[in-house]
């Protein structure tokens, strides 16, 4: 027993010695850096040390956005992570961050919505910015999301051209949800319209995961789409690269999401619809600094309560095309991307694009129709409202089948 005690004592003593040494060096290296003044707070659904997935993408965006503006993430960023979508826990996280002196607080998960709204009222001197939500006020509370459907459309073109090349008209899509969320429905529809622009005979089969992240079923559903429905290209709206890995194993092709998945499936991956979250975070943090301490000017400085950037802002994009892509994919994607960037055309309109095998793009008026035959936009009509894409889109377009 004495031995045991001695051991513990020794451990405790070692700790205090090493700790003291570290304290000294830590403070010495900390001084001297000149940085802009803004304290940033963030509330994450998963760990800030994640190496892939949703929280990782946002964390990267915040850190890179801060670096762009000359802010030091080590000193000026405070994070409460692994916060479930529980109002009381989110509000406690807000209290912690406000207590640390945060000037702007980002909440990245949809379920934080009511807590963020309440917090914005409780702390009018702090800016609140909520990802994927729809609530806001006129002063210190906005929401942000992006036109991922535009990037999806471009990835759809790559998939459509590939299906033409392989002669297999069946395209698969593993989706977290389908029509339950406008986010997923618009993603599926954007992708399917892109596929159809290149290959009018293509059919998109969608499997509904019923979960934002479920690695086991993400793989199993991709395999089912390949084996049962004969799909030759697999796209996805889910967290992991499992559907791409399944495509690789089966010798078919795929389009990833969130990050370039070519590394996960080098022989299968074509291109992925990706987010550049730092584009928004840098914009918002710059706006926060421009407010010069008056948080109530934030929404005005941002130009509105809802930020909804797309290809034009560089907020969404497609990852570099891999060598697996069909010929002329790059040419077609460049042309269509330019049309969306300069505002000439958008996805959910009454104008349909056709992409020839040589990559040239032509447009013609055609109604946008859902898979039950209802007309959504008449031929030649304008785009559906942004509110539909972010909130009420609850249908799948013609040529898409949920299986």
């Amino acid at each position: 027993m004495k031995k045991f005690l001695a051991l513990v004592m020794a451990m405790a003593m070692t700790l205090s010695l090493v700790a003291c040494g570290n304290a000294g060096s830590g403070s010495a290296s900390g001084s001297g850096a000149e940085t802009a003044e803004l304290t940033v707070g963030a509330i994450y659904i998963n760990s800030k040390n994640d190496t892939a997935g949703y929280t990782f993408a946002h964390h990267n965006g915040i850190v890179n956005g801060m670096k762009k503006l000359g802010l030091d993430p080590d000193k000026q960023l405070f994070i409460v992570d692994e916060v479930p979508e529980d109002k009381q826990q989110v509000l406690a996280a807000v209290d912690t961050l406000v207590g640390q002196g945060a000037d702007i607080i980002f909440g990245i998960s949809f379920g934080y919505i009511d807590a963020m709204e309440e917090a914005a009222g409780l702390y009018p001197e702090v800016i609140f910015s909520h990802g994927t939500g729809y609530k806001s006020n006129e002063t210190n509370f906005n929401n942000y999301f992006g036109r991922a459907y535009q990037a999806r459309y471009l990835a759809g073109i790559a998939a459509g051209l590939k299906s033409l090349e392989t002669g297999n008209n069946n395209v698969g899509y593993v989706a977290a949800y389908t029509t339950a969320y406008a986010e997923t429905a618009s993603g599926i529809n954007g992708f399917a319209l892109g596929v159809q622009a290149a290959n009018p005979d293509a059919k998109v089969y969608v499997k509904n995961l019923g979960n934002w992240a479920d690695e086991v079923n993400e793989k199993a559903y991709a395999e089912e789409l390949i084996n049962t429905f004969g799909c030759g290209v697999i796209s996805q709206h889910c967290d992991s690269a499992q559907p791409q890995i399944a495509a690789e194993n089966a010798g078919v092709f795929g389009c990833g999401y969130n990050s370039d998945m070519t590394g996960d499936a080098p022989k299968a991956h074509l291109t992925a619809a990706i987010w550049n979250w730092d584009v928004y975070y840098a914009t918002a943090m710059q706006a926060a600094m421009d407010c010069a301490g008056d948080a109530s000017k934030f929404v005005e400085t941002m130009g509105g309560p809802a930020y909804y950037g797309g290809l034009k802002e560089g907020f969404v994009d497609v990852s570099p095309l891999s060598a697996n892509c069909a010929a002329n994919t790059d040419k077609a994607i460049e042309a269509v991307k330019a049309m969306m960037v300069n505002g000439e055309w958008d996805v959910f309109t009454g104008v349909k694009l056709s992409i020839a095998a040589d990559g040239t793009v032509t447009s013609a008026d055609a109604a946008l129709v859902d898979n039950a035959g209802n007309e959504i936009v008449a031929a030649g009509g304008p785009s559906v409202e942004d509110g539909v894409i972010t909130g009420s889109m609850n249908y799948l377009v013609a040529g898409v089948e949920e299986v």
Partner: protein
């Protein structure tokens, strides 16, 4: 050479305290080494953790309010579990009973909250939660009494039944589902904070939630109940030996049913306190108190007064480590959870050495008494 475990006759209080202290120190040392490996100064981290980030915090009173929000459900749930444990009824179903209570309380708040005064709503919420949780618990006790089923397995599995019911309610948009906001396209739990919220006693800026006082009151009642009443005595006799209790003429089955009902009722009350403070349901509403409460009850050796002390410490660890992790970019909440785990594990190890000692078995069958 072989060893065997011998029960300690008695361990003086100072020795116990030393064991626990050493366990905590060892855990902090381990955590400190990990922090060093991550390039974080352990002293800076620990000082933030033990002060729960309240030093130099311009809204420290908020931090303390949030700390109490963690403390109240944990303390009450632990007290409730200790009742059943004292009778050697292994109620692992705190999570499920808590969820059932929370759903019942939310139902009352959403259905009746707008037409009744706040106080009446709150009382009805507490009663509904106690009844729902109590029935969910006593159901298992009835099966055990009637058919001799294993209560550990039953309560454990019913946790998941409750959890999935809650997840279903939180996920399924439908006309009947009044738990969700009608106007939201996506499923979001409907708030009822404006019609049912426990009042706060304002002490300057700090708001002392009424639930805190009620929790201490319930704790005092249970302390007296266990120590000085006939029913409390019956619980300990049944726990020590059901056969003896039966021989002494006690109605063992009735005592089991009554005590488990009471235990689950109190967990329901904890849920009502939580829901009545949060003003909204969530799938993470339990904050794992049903699990943590088991550890608290054991560490406190089922002593009601000690439970309050241990709950306060564990809540401090829980809340403090999250507050500390916020200010260190390399430390995430997983580290906080791991540290809690290591501390609990080592404290339980110390607990083992307080109750038992390991001696070398000698050929003659005698040990040398070396401790």
């Amino acid at each position: 050479m072989s060893f065997h475990v011998v029960k300690r006759e008695a361990c003086p209080l100072w020795k116990k305290a030393c064991f626990y202290l050493l366990a905590v120190l060892a855990a902090l040392t381990l955590g400190g080494l990990l922090l060093l490996a991550m390039g974080v100064n352990p002293l800076a981290y620990y000082s933030r953790m033990f002060t729960m980030g309240m030093v130099g915090n311009k809204i420290a009173y908020k931090a303390f309010e949030n700390y109490l929000k963690v403390f109240v459900p944990l303390a009450l749930t632990s007290v409730a579990l200790s009742l059943a444990f004292k009778m050697r009824f292994w109620n692992i179903g705190g999570e499920g009973q808590f969820i059932m209570g929370a759903i019942a309380a939310a139902t009352v708040a959403l259905k009746l909250g707008s037409s009744l005064p706040n106080a009446v709503t709150l009382i009805l919420m507490c009663l509904a939660a106690m009844l729902a949780a109590g029935l969910y618990g006593v159901f298992v006790a009835a099966l055990k009494v009637k058919f001799g089923t294993n209560e550990t397995l039953m309560t454990l599995m019913l946790n998941y039944v409750a959890l999935y019911i809650l997840a279903f309610l939180g996920d399924r948009k439908a006309d009947w589902n009044f738990f969700l906001q009608a106007e939201s396209v996506r499923p979001v739990f409907q708030s009822f904070a404006d019609v049912a919220a426990f009042p706060k006693i304002m002490l300057g800026k700090f708001g002392l939630n009424l639930c805190v006082l009620l929790t201490f009151a319930v704790g005092a009642v249970i302390f007296v109940y266990l120590k000085y009443t006939k029913q409390g005595y019956e619980i300990s006799v049944v726990g020590d030996s059901a056969g003896t209790a039966h021989y002494a003429g006690m109605k063992v089955n009735t005592i089991v049913l009554r005590t488990v009902f009471l235990s689950a009722c109190l967990i329901g009350l904890a849920a009502a306190f939580k829901v009545g403070t949060a003003g909204v349901l969530s799938t993470a509403i339990t904050d794992d108190v049903g699990w943590t409460g088991i550890i608290v009850a054991w560490l406190s050796q089922l002593n009601t007064a000690v439970i309050f002390v241990v709950s306060a410490l564990i809540s401090m660890l829980h809340y403090g480590s999250v507050a500390a992790a916020a200010s260190f970019s390399r430390v995430d909440s997983s580290f906080a959870n791991m540290l809690q785990g290591v501390i609990l594990f080592l404290v339980l190890t110390a607990d083992f050495f307080i109750r038992f000692r390991i001696v070398r078995t000698q050929k003659g069958g005698k040990d040398n008494g070396n401790g």
